[in-house]
């Protein structure tokens, strides 16, 4: 058994970086702790460069298929490292003002990045489960990080109870699939399913429980109950990490699982996923209409986005998987921009409800502009990346024959436009109660500028991203 462990160099770098950050936190005095996020970001940049330089074009695996290192894994590795870097940058000002013990915060954040990278690279159910649990544990702690805040405790309690419950469901599904098919590797499951003539009830139960467990992790309806409370209770950078990173990681697993392992029985699960997608889209967008707190609104809006992604999974084919990955990247950039704007406003005004956004565009013009642009992008308006990604996703679904589902998706997109415009109205039209300008740190402005350039640039010229997505989905099929 010759394993080339150099293939896992990015994971080793990020894990080592996490330990370095934790160790530095032990020895640094309080006044020098501003070094920690810088170390984290520099280390993540190194890991990104290493992974792109050495793993481009590699298609290999360790332990005979358990950990896959191919184009799909590389795409998501680079994506998650970049995402981790952006979350660290979003957290710098927030952690300095509102939270204690920054070293552990950044260390645990880096461990969640490692877990996400391994989740995209897993080729087998046990590896996927362990990576998922590492990601979840890190997130449980990070959601509870604001120790003396009652909302943070409550959100974290609901999150961990439902999260542990869902991983028990997932695990029972894994044990059923293992018991009845005899294997946990995705390729062997695929061959066992294609040679089996009929699905036994136990196997149907197992696959349904796996879908339920993963449905909890991505906050699909009817498994979404934890999401609004966890998002509202968590510190804003962690809400961003939950909304973007953990969903993208879970979808990376879902894509590989359904494209490789469950593809032979696609007729059975397609209708189930279509049903889940439709109720997720509709319920997420309809309940968001009634929200007054901005974090909760963004939580329900991300439940709606999960509905579009599930529609993409239901329409999974060699041509369709690119749309999902494109939408994940677009959704990541947009949501990060929205949450960073919210964090910048909250750090000064202490308000995170919609009414608290009144007149912000006059008090912090750049923040208001990027916030408005990110909300338009989430709604899917043209020249922004949200339009491009939604177009390709709905196109892929329609090309597979799911026309009425694509129609419902367009309808719920229209509904979402209403509540996004509510926030834009508060930003630009409503007068501010206190007209003092909001000071925004230069780092935040820099990151906002980069994200804005990403949203507009990818919306107008998506070709490089689409090539990367094509490279990734070629490796998947």
């Amino acid at each position: 058994m010759n394993n080339n462990f150099l293939l896992l160099l990015p994971e080793f770098i990020v894990t080592g970086l996490a330990f370095v950050v934790l160790g530095l936190d032990l020895f640094l005095p309080e006044r020098r702790k501003w070094v920690l996020p810088i170390v984290a970001v520099v280390g993540l940049v190194v890991a990104l460069v290493v992974s792109l330089r050495y793993l481009w074009g590699v298609s290999d695996s360790l332990y005979d298929g358990v950990i896959r290192v191919d184009g799909y894994a590389l795409f998501f590795k680079a994506f998650f490292i970049a995402l981790g870097g952006v979350v660290v940058l979003v957290s710098v000002d927030f952690v300095r003002r509102n939270l204690e013990h920054p070293g552990e915060y950044y260390g645990i954040l880096l461990f969640t990045v490692v877990a996400m990278m391994l989740l995209a690279a897993s080729g087998e159910l046990l590896t996927a489960y362990i990576s998922l649990e590492l990601l979840s544990f890190g997130l449980y702690v990070l959601v509870a990080y604001d120790r003396y805040n009652a909302k943070s405790n409550e959100g974290a309690t609901k999150y961990i109870l439902l999260g542990a419950f869902s991983s028990a469901l997932l695990l029972f599904g894994i044990s059923q699939v293992y018991g009845l098919l005899g294997t946990t590797r995705f390729d062997e499951i695929s061959s066992a399913l294609s040679s089996a003539d009929a699905l036994s009830p136990g196997l149907i139960l197992g696959i349904a429980l796996i879908i339920a467990g993963l449905g909890f992790k991505v906050a699909a309806v009817p498994f979404h109950m934890w999401a609004p409370d966890a998002y509202e209770g968590a510190p804003i950078p962690i809400t961003a990490h939950l909304a973007v990173g953990s969903k993208a990681a879970a979808f990376a697993l879902v894509l590989r699982l359904f494209a490789e392992a469950f593809m032979p029985i696609v007729e059975q699960w397609q209708i189930l996923l279509i049903g889940l997608a439709v109720i997720t889209m509709l319920l997420g967008n309809l309940v968001a209409l009634a929200q007054r707190n901005l974090k909760r609104l963004l939580a329900y809006s991300s439940v709606g986005q999960v509905g579009y992604l599930l529609m993409g999974v239901a329409a999974l084919a060699a041509t369709g998987s690119g749309g999902i990955m494109l939408h994940l990247v677009a959704y990541a950039v947009t949501n990060m921009a929205a949450f960073l704007c919210l964090a910048a406003i909250y750090n000064i005004t202490g308000r995170d409800d919609i009414a608290g956004m009144a007149g912000v565009a006059r008090r912090a013009p750049l923040v208001g502009l990027v916030f408005a642009v990110s909300l338009f992008s989430l709604a899917g308006l043209p020249i922004f990346v949200g339009f491009t990604s939604k177009f390709y996703l709905f196109n892929a679904a329609a090309a597979q024959g799911l026309l009425w589902v694509a129609g419902i998706a367009i309808f719920s997109s229209l509904i979402s436009l209403y509540y996004y415009l509510q926030v834009v109205r508060q930003l630009y039209i409503e007068p501010a109660e206190d007209a003092a300008p909001i000071p925004v740190p230069r780092l935040t402005l820099g990151v906002l500028g980069a994200l804005f350039a990403g949203m507009v640039g990818l919306g107008v010229y998506p070709a490089p991203l689409m090539e990367a997505v094509q490279y990734a989905s070629d490796a998947l099929f």
Partner: protein, 99 residues
């Protein structure tokens, strides 16, 4: 030998009892206890399957035991923090965040 189906039925029954416990209990501590019951039911399922298939089910079971122990530690730390702040572990009473 006892057929595999009987072990799977036992595991499913324990899982169902744990599932009822999670949904019906009001104390967060008892909910964590029920989740543990569910995870142990999964372990029975895995080990029974491994004995019949001579496969890696036993390895998965060891991983599950470790992860369950870590999960319980985390869950109780968070519940303890909530208890210190709010004075209760009754999940019906923690309702600052609603709708």
């Amino acid at each position: 030998m006892v057929p595999l189906l009987y072990y799977q039925l036992l595991s499913a029954a324990l899982f169902g009892i744990g599932l009822y416990g999670v949904l019906a209990r009001r104390s967060a501590v008892l909910i964590v206890l029920s989740i543990e019951l569910m995870l142990n039911a999964v372990n029975i399922n895995l080990i029974a399957a491994a004995s019949y298939l001579n496969g890696i089910g036993r390895v998965i079971a060891i991983f599950v035991i470790t992860v369950a122990a870590a999960e319980v530690g985390l869950a109780f730390a968070i519940i303890l923090r909530m208890y210190r702040n709010r004075g209760t572990v009754n999940v019906d009473e923690i309702n600052l965040l609603k709708w």
